[in-house]
């Protein structure tokens, strides 16, 4: 006779729960409701104790911290430690952004998330013609190591984990982070954080590409290989569904296309000769959270289960850490409206709750004024407070995967998983994600979903409060933050000052070496670290690579 669920539960406690608690104990204030009723960390199905039901439960859900991780990647989840509250921030130049980071850390934020401006993301220096008007606008402008030193001034890199939203020039910014660490006396092996480094979704949805897919994938896997040796605590990729969702996809498309991207990265790394269990544990994910709370919770659960199965069964990974889908969540910016901006606070609260109920590892909550421009300090603080209220007051952190077993949630989880798996199968048939992108398959699917969604709004079949119903005549707009022209000038001045004082022969030497190596199949990461140390700029390094790899141009209607 098969073991009962109770027996399996006891085994899980001994095998998974207790070692975890020994490492990070549960917090005493998360073990009872506000009325004093004790709450368990984990609830299991009751009252249908036959073998088939037990087996079905174990296959579909299992225990948190164990395959297939439907219920979460850690056995205690937030009972021991809240998710990382990580507000994406950056604007103007490094000085201004450094000030904002220090403010956020003082306010109780537990990790940093760097937003770079568009010229940095596309590999143009601040004085490039195409950077006109864009310097410091959607993030901080970084040209050389000198900027990065200012950005992390008085922020100890051995204590704070940093997420960097950077893709095409990911190597350059990671190299700068390593170099800043060196200057602070923190070795690369002790650095923690995440680099987005997800190029495929740039072609699908986000648009900040530089190089064609082939060279881009090479750079991605170069980072995998480098970090596997030297940066064991750093997440080397954040495979991103967020931007796919923001472009208008459905929940199942978000999961399907993101995991298909993940599969392409594993394939690329395997063909570069890496061992799956060496890099897969350092892969992380990034999803959006919409306001449709139940579907979102189901989506996160489905993504975990599907990914675990893929990595274990398709790629034969042995290390359980390879199977875990760990993810960051950001509330979806496209749901914010310029009309009645205070409504955005409510939307963000629901979206954040969905992420927490879905078991996110870290969370960014949007500020209410982001449909109008950059968030003010006050608005960012309110967004952070939203997370803190959910963490400390709502009680949802007391129990792992609290919505499990809900008929609705379980059914939705199955549906999202099935639909996402069908997308992955279709992409496999097309010869993988790179081929599918070339044929515009994911782009077209997303566009159709987006069009449908917008049509529903236009036809009032879908209500957006304050926009197509309950609209008001007069809309009061709050103050918003403006990037000062002074910051732009300061940035350009600093760049020319750095160019003046650095050893230009060293810059030329490191750039020539890099360009040569780009023509071979060498790992470019160590060479980029050298160039960065010599204060070569983001634009100069990317130009060296452009000369070898060419540039990607893709425009569809």
């Amino acid at each position: 006779m098969a073991e009962s669920l109770e027996e399996r539960f006891e085994q899980w406690k001994a095998r998974t729960l207790e070692p975890a608690i020994a490492k990070v104990p549960e917090c005493a204030d998360r073990t009872a409701t506000v009325s004093g009723v004790p709450t368990d960390g984990l609830y299991l199905p009751e009252g249908h104790g036959n073998d088939a039901a037990t087996e079905a439960y174990l296959v579909a859900q299992g225990f948190p911290g164990e395959f297939p991780f439907t219920r979460g990647v850690q056995p205690t989840m937030y009972r021991s430690r809240f998710w990382t509250m990580r507000q994406y921030a950056g604007f103007g130049d490094a000085e201004e952004t450094n000030e904002r980071y220090r403010f956020l850390l003082e306010q109780g934020q537990t990790g940093l998330s760097v937003a770079f401006d568009l010229p940095t993301q596309i590999g143009y220096d601040s004085d490039h013609a195409l950077a006109t008007g864009e310097v410091g606008k959607v993030g901080v402008a970084i040209d050389t190591l000198a900027d990065m030193e200012i950005l992390f001034d008085s922020i100890p890199l051995d204590k704070v984990s940093t997420s960097m939203t950077i893709n095409s020039p990911a190597m350059v910014l990671l190299a700068m982070y390593i170099a800043v660490g060196e200057k602070q006396g923190v070795e690369a092996s002790r650095l923690t954080g995440t680099i987005q480094n997800d190029m495929l979704k740039e072609y699908i949805a986000r648009g900040t590409y530089i190089f064609p897919p082939g060279p881009s994938l090479r750079l991605t896997t170069n980072i995998f290989a480098y970090a596997a040796e030297l940066m064991p605590r750093f997440n080397t990729i954040s495979v991103s569904g967020y931007h796919i969702r923001e472009a208008g996809s459905t929940a199942a498309q978000e999961v399907g296309f993101t995991l298909a991207d993940g599969i392409a990265y594993i394939d690329a790394a395997l063909s570069a000769g890496l061992d799956v269990d060496r890099f897969a544990p350092r892969m992380s994910f990034f999803f959006g959270a919409m306001t449709d709370l139940l579907e979102e919770v189901a989506k996160f659960r489905a993504a975990r289960r599907l990914w675990a199965r893929i990595v274990k069964e398709r790629f034969d990974a042995k290390d359980p850490r390879s199977w875990m889908l760990r993810f960051h969540t950001q509330t979806c910016g496209a749901t914010l409206t310029a009309q009645q901006v205070d409504n955005n606070v409510v939307r963000v609260a629901i979206q954040a709750l969905a992420a927490v109920l879905g078991g996110t590892q870290s969370l960014h909550t949007n500020s209410r004024d982001e449909a109008l421009g950059l968030p003010t300090e006050e608005a960012v603080q309110l967004a952070l407070r939203t997370q803190q209220v959910i963490a400390h007051e709502s009680g949802v952190a007391h129990t792992v995967d609290p919505l499990a077993g809900s008929y609705c949630i379980e059914k939705l989880t199955d549906q999202v998983e099935t639909e996402a798996a069908a997308y992955i199968e279709k992409i496999d048939e097309m010869g993988g994600m790179v081929r599918a992108i070339e044929q515009h398959y994911p782009q077209n699917e997303i566009e159709q979903s987006s069009y449908r969604y917008q049509q529903q709004i236009e036809r009032d079949q879908r209500i957006i409060v304050g926009v197509n119903r309950y609209a008001t005549e007069v809309d009061v707009q709050p103050e918003i933050l403006t990037v000062s022209e002074a910051a732009t000038r300061r940035q350009i001045d600093r760049l020319s000052e750095v160019r003046g004082r650095r050893d230009s022969s060293e810059v030329t030497h490191t750039l020539t070496t890099l360009e040569e190596a780009a023509r071979s199949d060498a790992n470019l990461m160590p060479l980029i670290v050298d160039a960065v140390r010599a204060y070569a700029s983001v634009g100069e390094i990317c130009d060296a690579l452009r000369r070898v790899f060419g540039e990607y141009e893709e425009h569809t209607m």
């Binding site: 596309i122 013609a129 606008k137 648009g207 709004i457």
Partner: protein
């Protein structure tokens, strides 16, 4: 020439005489942001409303936008930008149009544009400024008004 709009025409032939050819619109994305969800929705809606739409794709310079608008002889230019660089880049488009002596084109602006920038853009010649959440019906009716007032 006789009018062709009697019933029974359409099933035989879809040919029409271009007494009133469709208006031509250029939708352009200046600057570096890749957020084209709104622009892509809009171009379809404009097509369905009977306009001929030319879309530039992302990451275009003001020079590319203006030259394209001239070559395609469009009636309307709609610019979209979400990074906040509108004051500089939209101004540059307006300036180039002036330099080229193009004065009869309707200019529209869209994107994450704070209210306080609207007067500046209007002074540059932008007839309407649309922000996130603006329904397409609003854009279409503004457009129709602009075009009919010019006829």
């Amino acid at each position: 020439m006789r009018k062709l709009d009697q019933a029974g025409q359409q099933d035989l032939t879809s040919c029409t005489v271009d007494a009133h050819p469709p208006k031509r619109i250029l939708i352009g994305k200046v600057g570096l942001d890749g957020h084209d969800r709104g622009a892509k929705f809009l171009i379809r809606a404009l097509r369905d409303a009977g306009y001929e739409v030319i879309y530039t794709g992302i990451r275009r310079t003001p020079e590319q936008i203006v030259q394209t608008a001239i070559d395609e002889d469009v009636d309307v230019i709609g610019l979209s930008l979400l990074s906040g660089a509108h004051n500089q880049l939209f101004a540059r488009v307006a300036e180039l149009l002036k330099e080229e002596g193009v004065e009869d084109v309707v200019l529209l602006a869209g994107g994450t544009i704070p209210e306080k920038d609207v007067p500046y853009l209007e002074a540059l010649g932008f007839r309407h400024v649309f922000t996130p959440g603006a329904p397409v019906s609003e854009i279409l009716s503004a457009l129709q008004q602009e075009l009919s007032s010019r006829e």
